[in-house]
């Protein structure tokens, strides 16, 4: 018994002396499930030895901050604008200009040359025409609190990326002169929650649609299509008055990586037009690199024109978001 104890502590001491497992390139990414499998397979086929760590966006963000003194990741891939901006501010990234960056529109690059965006993801309001006639569909996000939509839409957990973004998209419409959300805004949100079906997990989200209760989907574009496909129903995306929040996901190389060359090679490969187009063909994600979009299937190109963007300054919102979410969680829900 004491022997095993001694062995264990010896093992711990030994292991902590060599904390890093060298070898594969470690990539932190919120892309999970079949997407992660696809990325891993394609990267391997292209000769990149990678290891993916998947988790929710918020969780990955916390983890990257926590690991600040002993970073495990070499590359961060697919986190949204606000998260990438804050991580950059913490000094976690290093500058690198990928081979595909030259053709990238300026608004998808940062001044420091650290974060490069490769997708855009609209957070859409969509409806199921067989449940809700076209004429009765809402025209704007602000229509949701009307009585006729009571119990017809589902709000996901605030820990998820998507709800955070559309909630922010709604609240920015109610900013007063001081940049604070007005009482009117909070009243709107209270009503939005009071009328909603609430889902804390993916199962109950899907269940709300399966049971036929929900007919409006507040989702990211790909998620909305996927849900419709799983349900075997037709979904229509609304090009809302006031615009739709559009996020873009970026990639960056960690400042502390010990595999810089491999990291660079991977980033070059990942953002290239062919890979982006292949991903678009597989999952319908809209690439922002013009050449990649041109190579993407027509349906994807069409998606790129589906909605007009809501003008949102994500960098300005990022620091306020936590406070808003706290108020929602503690007072409103």
């Amino acid at each position: 018994m004491k022997l095993s104890l001694a062995l264990a502590s010896a093992a711990i001491a030994l292991a902590s002396a060599f904390p890093a497992f060298a070898g594969a390139l470690t990539i932190y990414s919120p892309q999970g499930g079949e997407r992660a499998v696809w990325i891993a397979e394609q990267a391997k086929a292209a000769g990149h030895d990678i290891k993916l760590l998947n988790a929710g966006g918020g969780e990955l963000f916390d983890r990257l901050l926590a690991e600040k003194n002993n970073p495990q990741a070499d590359v961060v891939l697919g986190m949204v604008d606000t998260s990438m901006a804050l991580l950059k501010k913490e000094g976690l990234f290093q500058p690198y200009s990928p081979s595909w960056a030259t053709d990238l529109p300026a608004r998808y690059k940062d001044a420091e040359g650290m974060v490069h965006k490769f997708w855009q993801t609209p957070i859409v309001l969509a409806y199921y025409p067989d449940r809700l006639p076209d004429a009765e569909a809402p025209k704007s996000w602000l229509d949701l609190t009307k009585d006729e939509y009571q119990g017809k839409y589902v709000l996901g957990a605030t820990a998820w990326q998507t709800p955070r973004m559309y909630l922010a998209g709604i609240l920015v419409r109610f900013l007063d002169a001081n940049g604070e959300v007005s009482d009117e805004g909070w009243e709107f949100l209270s009503k939005l929650y009071a009328h909603a079906i609430i889902a804390n997990d993916a199962d109950s989200y899907t269940e709300a649609f399966k049971s036929g209760r929900a007919s409006l989907d507040l989702n990211w574009l790909g998620g909305s299509f996927k849900l419709a496909k799983d349900l075997g129903a037709k979904v229509k995306v609304i090009d809302t008055e006031g615009g739709t929040p559009i996020l873009s996901e970026g990639v960056a190389i960690m400042a502390a990586t010990d595999q810089l060359d491999e990291a660079k090679a991977f980033v070059n490969w990942w953002g290239s037009a062919d890979v982006m187009a292949a991903y678009a063909a597989k999952f319908g994600q809209v690439p922002v690199l013009p050449e990649a979009l041109a190579k993407s299937p027509p349906a994807v190109q069409e998606n790129a024109r589906l909605v007009k963007a809501q003008p949102i300054d994500w960098d300005a919102i990022a620091p306020k978001l936590d406070g808003w979410l706290q108020k929602i969680e503690l007072e409103i829900r």
Binding site: A8, A17, R63, N70, T206, Q326
Partner: protein
């Protein structure tokens, strides 16, 4: 003699120093780091603000109230169900008690998120039972089970493990001659139960109730999965606050819970001491099962017992059944129309689905072994030598019980995110080892709690006899004491292993690329809309349950028919 004794002493001191170091490094430092980080987050103490924010939050107040009344209600229902189980298994003669025993033992291996999901699967809006109910009575809403009722229901049937383990053992210790004496004096069945049996098992019942109370107050999975939008409890609030980046409020709420829980632990130790005092080592007549005379009553007891067994077994059976179903039928069919082994092949075939399973098996067993080693070394010392030092050690071991695991995870992260001299200036965060270390810490309280009782229950004459025959301390421990506590050790190892396989908060915070554990995979499977993932999760859960149940049944076998002291509480 002097040479080996000297070596033993050396080992003893070495062990003590290692444990002191481990407690300091992995318990006290992380917990104080977490509290410090939480309470002094902007450089100053802002408790007043945080408290004000907590108090003014409608949902925090609701969570407090919900937790309070749910705890009270659960204690009542769990006690009723638990006592009924014990009566059916150990007091009355009921047909098929072997089967009932297996059914009633399922909470030992079916708990946490897994069980809550299983209940949702069985009674939730998409379940066969709901479909049947709504077909019969269209006025019943599909989410009839979701809300406080579902939570109370799940609590009632999932929190009887302590009754199953300890109250049953206490019942077996009742001196049958006292029952016969009472009967000869004309006492009715009810009077005997109330006046003769109950007082004997009362100390155990109190200890068991306190343990259960502890479990309810910290309940997370049941309200999270089954509570719906209107019913939430404190531990959910702690998690929410933490994810809202308000660790200060989370810590304060956690501290409040912690103080209640610490009080409960101290109370239970008090009752334990009292119980040990009254339970002398006197020979008693073994209790004999009572035949229920009244045929109506007998039928009713049988019906209730089997209904209870069904409630226990149906969720488990559905999970096992659907683990053999094609992925496409999960959530679509009420009962699988065809069965297949593909899901198992995918998990056990060594592919990507096997990796988290392997990781968790490895880390879980390592954590349980190390935890047991620490417990088996420290607890006898704590039991034998009662001074402020061992008292402090014992309280330290219980700390992870009163600190929510999220706070513990945060503490471990804060303590080891930079070079720490206590571990040779290594940065443990991000390494393979932080998660298994977290698992060990997380396992200690229950292990210490159970093993304490086991060690206290050993008749000191055994050790004395061995000493008189010349056995040295380590030899006595190995040959005499260890076999006596082995059943308890195996039991608690099995239970803890089972929880580790489904432990979410610590896992989520501490895993790294190389040790992605099962709970993460299971939750991802649940979150992902991919039916294949769901199927694989069911296989995981089935395998874990089968494994843990085997371990626990081995423990039960080992302890059968001897020294009920070892299952003393």
């Amino acid at each position: 003699m002097t040479r080996t004794a000297g070596f033993d002493r050396l080992l003893y001191w070495f062990g003590l120093i290692v444990i002191a170091w481990a407690v300091l490094t992995f318990l006290l430092v992380p917990i104080s780091a977490a509290l410090h980080a939480a309470l002094f987050r902007h450089g100053g103490l802002e408790i007043v603000d945080a408290v004000a924010e907590l108090v003014s939050s409608r949902r925090v107040r609701a969570a407090l109230w919900n937790t309070a009344w749910m705890t009270a209600a659960t204690i009542v229902t769990v006690t009723i169900v638990g006592m009924f189980q014990v009566a059916v298994l150990e007091y009355f003669r009921v047909r098929g008690s072997g089967f009932l025993k297996v059914a009633f033992s399922t909470p030992l291996v079916f708990g946490g998120v897994v069980a809550a999901a299983g209940y949702n699967f069985t009674y939730g809006p998409g379940s066969a039972i709901t479909a049947a109910l709504t077909a019969l009575f269209p006025s019943i809403p599909r989410d009839w089970f979701i809300g406080w009722f579902g939570v109370l229901f799940a609590h009632t049937f999932l929190m009887t493990s302590f009754h199953f383990l300890f109250l049953r053992a206490a019942m077996r210790r009742v001196d049958y001659s006292t029952i016969e004496a009472a009967r000869s004096m004309g006492a009715s069945e009810l009077t005997i139960l109330r006046r003769v049996v109950l007082p004997v098992i009362m100390p155990t019942l109190l200890a068991v109730t306190l343990l259960t109370l502890h479990t309810v107050v910290g309940s997370f999975a049941a309200p999270q999965v089954l509570g719906g939008r209107d019913f939430h409890m404190l531990s959910q609030m702690v998690l929410t606050l933490n994810s809202l980046r308000r660790p200060d409020m989370a810590a304060l709420l956690a501290l409040l819970m912690g103080m209640v829980l610490m009080g409960l632990i101290l109370l239970s130790q008090y009752f334990e001491a009292k119980g040990a005092y009254t339970a002398g080592a006197k020979t008693t007549t073994r209790i004999q099962l009572r035949q229920i005379r009244n045929p109506l009553l007998r039928t009713m007891v049988h019906a209730l017992a089997y209904l209870l067994a069904a409630i226990y077994l149906v969720p488990v059976a559905l999970i096992v059944l659907f683990s053999f179903a094609p992925a496409s039928s999960i959530g679509i069919e009420m009962l699988p129309s065809t069965l297949t082994l593909t899901n198992y092949a995918r998990v056990l075939g060594g592919g990507t689905a096997f990796v988290p399973f392997f990781n968790s098996m490895l880390m879980g067993s390592a954590a349980v072994v190390v935890g047991l080693a620490i417990t088996l070394f420290a607890v006898p010392i704590m039991v034998r030598k009662r001074n402020w030092l061992t008292q402090a050690l014992s309280i330290s071991f219980f700390l992870p019980w009163i600190i929510p695991s999220i706070l513990l995870a945060v503490g471990l992260i804060v303590a080891f995110d930079a070079p720490n001299p206590l571990v040779g200036n290594a940065v443990l965060l991000g390494s393979y080892w932080l998660l298994p270390i977290g698992y060990v810490i997380f396992s200690l309280p229950l292990m210490v709690r159970f093993m304490r009782s086991a060690f206290i229950g050993i008749d000191p004459a055994f050790e004395e006899a061995a000493r008189a025959m010349g056995a040295s301390g380590p030899y006595r421990f190995r040959r005499v004491v260890l076999p006596l506590v082995a059943p308890t050790a195996i039991l608690v190892a099995g239970m803890k292993f089972n929880t580790l396989m489904a432990e979410y908060p610590l896992s989520a915070f501490l895993y790294n690329v190389n040790n992605r554990p099962l709970p993460i995979a299971i939750v991802e499977g649940a979150v992902s809309a991919d039916p294949d993932q769901a199927a694989i999760s069911l296989v995981y859960v089935t395998l874990i349950m089968a494994f843990s149940l085997t371990v626990i049944l081995i423990a039960e076998r080992l302890s059968l028919g001897r020294t009920p002291e070892t299952s003393n509480l």
